[in-house]
Amino acid sequence: MSRADALRAGGRASAPVIVGIVPFGLVAGAAAIAAGLSLLQAVGLSVVVFAGASQLAMIDLLAREASLVVVVGTALVINARLVMYSASIAPDLLEVKLRVRALLAYVLTDQAYALSVTRYREGLKETDQRLWFYVGTAVPLWVAWQIATIAGAVVGAQLPSWLPLGFAVPLVFLALLAPAVQDRPSAAAAIAGGAIATLGIGLPYNLGLLAGAVVGIAVGTGLALNERTSAEAPA
């Protein structure tokens, strides 16, 4: 497989995923404008942060006048999962030049990671092919995301006010939550996270979301480690 073939294969793999992220990007753009961000700020957020769920949470917190520390802290907790992807894909790309890896990191997303690692495990062994397959998945996703957020920002400003566009944001999270709940520990993480965030809605500095996230992660992790230990213990 040549470089161009690998690049094209990546592009083909990303096509169905792009269909899924476009509505998400439209909501992210429209929500930014609805929250009072300028078009430039909406685009800046999308280009500089480039991570949908954290962008929507930041927009929500900025609209509620949360402090800078809470806005940034919440975004980084949401994006902590990217460390997992970085660690998982790093051994596959070790022979790629460090400078190039620094560029690959910027376009690392849930989707590019999942598509690439799946293809690597199916037998894409050569470093060059791995690199270009990754580029083929990650770059179209980046382009589609930027176009969708800009379109959402432009169109969102024209939408009638009776349309409860703000509610589209939690609905996007809801659609992402369903596949994230896979087993008992992740279900417990979701229940604890949702409950604490709801009970903590009146907490100062809008800390409820952060508190829910941290407690949910702790509960899920504790349960998963506990299950693993009892599975290993002799009967």
Partner: protein
């Protein structure tokens, strides 16, 4: 809104730099850091479920800042959307059912 221009741009830059460092972490330092400890990996696996639920549940149960079970259109629309999300895992279908539900309930 609300947040000042300075706060918005500061948030964008700080979250952007921080998010980049999270992405770059092992891609740049794998040779030095080695594999992720299993307990840390387990914790990272829990992030999406915990965070997404912490974002969704208050927005449905307490849309106006206090828990409301009666006269809360978003609760009913949210339950319908949850069913759609669960069975289809489709973003567009989930958004449509939730938004149409809220608009219709608002008309009643």
């Amino acid at each position: 809104m609300t947040a000042s221009t300075a706060v918005v741009w500061s948030a964008v830059l700080l979250a952007g730099v921080g998010t980049y460092l999270l992405r770059a972490s092992f891609l740049l330092l794998f040779e030095r850091l080695g594999e992720v400890p299993p307990a840390v990996e387990t914790a990272l696996e829990m992030v999406p479920a915990a965070v997404l639920a912490a974002l969704v549940v208050p927005a449905i149960l307490a849309p106006d800042g206090a828990i409301a079970l009666v006269g809360n259109d978003r609760l009913f629309a949210g339950v319908a959307a949850t069913a759609v999300a669960w069975y289809t895992e489709n973003i567009v279908a989930t958004i449509l059912v939730g938004l149409v539900g809220v608009v219709l309930l608002g008309l009643v």
